[in-house]
Symmetry: C2
Subunit: 147 residues, 2 copies
Amino acid sequence: MDSAERILQQLRQRGERITIQRRMVIEALCEDCDHLTINDIQKQMESRGYELDEATIYRILQWLKAAEVISQTDLGARGIVYELIGTKRHHHLVCLNCHAVIELDDSFADQLREQVRHEHDFEPRVDHLAIFGWCAQCRAAKAATKN
Amino acid sequence: MDSAERILQQLRQRGERITIQRRMVIEALCEDCDHLTINDIQKQMESRGYELDEATIYRILQWLKAAEVISQTDLGARGIVYELIGTKRHHHLVCLNCHAVIELDDSFADQLREQVRHEHDFEPRVDHLAIFGWCAQCRAAKAATKN
DNA sequence: CTACATGCAAATCCTTTGCATCCAC
DNA sequence: GTGGATGCAAAGGATTTGCATGTAG
């Protein structure tokens, strides 16, 4: 994965220290391009025959968040997930009932960003939003049981 | 606060059981019209000379959430806050640096709701959103230190 | 060489759960 | 009276912290 290399380069240039552990976490995030929980990351490491301490993972993720390399999103029942910001930005609809996760294009956030910038002089960092609600199936099911 | 009474009435009509504890939590949420953390609620109770078990508070808040009487929002460093949905709906900008919380009108969410409903057949429950980013002051401060 | 990252263990914080008791309806 | 809510204590899970050791620059 050369995108891992690219990220490592950037971090190095910013004067960040690159360790084996940091490198491995970044590579894990690059490969499994989906959202990963702490646990996913830990298991990924193990499957490669490398044990990485939980505390260290937390510290590395904090570091990557501060460096704005990854986003952190609370998907509710699905837990907290981490993902590289670099790729195509997107968000998620999360069903409050069945916990389905639907991908949502980033375009809807444009208006939001503009409004917030202009009206509040605030620079939003809307990297990965989770919007909760009811999916079509669960709405139908709910309506059917209602009375 | 008659709004507490109104909420209690509604819940009663839905067949919900009203206890002293539930009543007190609802009253606390009505009085302190701001966002309250679990801790705030607990302290509020204490200041009125009433001790309420933490577990009970959690159970009551879950109940109120399920009944869609309150919203729950993770304000990051500011913790998880609860607030009555009834009043004028609004959202928040939260500075990642200084943790300032800025109120944001609900109107920006209209377009979002429409888009999500139409394009994804998903009924969003956007009661109280937290949008993270950088406030004007912190941006200025950051730019100043940059190099 | 030195400052900073890691591993390990313990601590902390937040939230949930089991169960006996109590109370709203 | 009875089902559901509470209080208490304990468990559980996620995240953080202190400190000795290791290592990147």
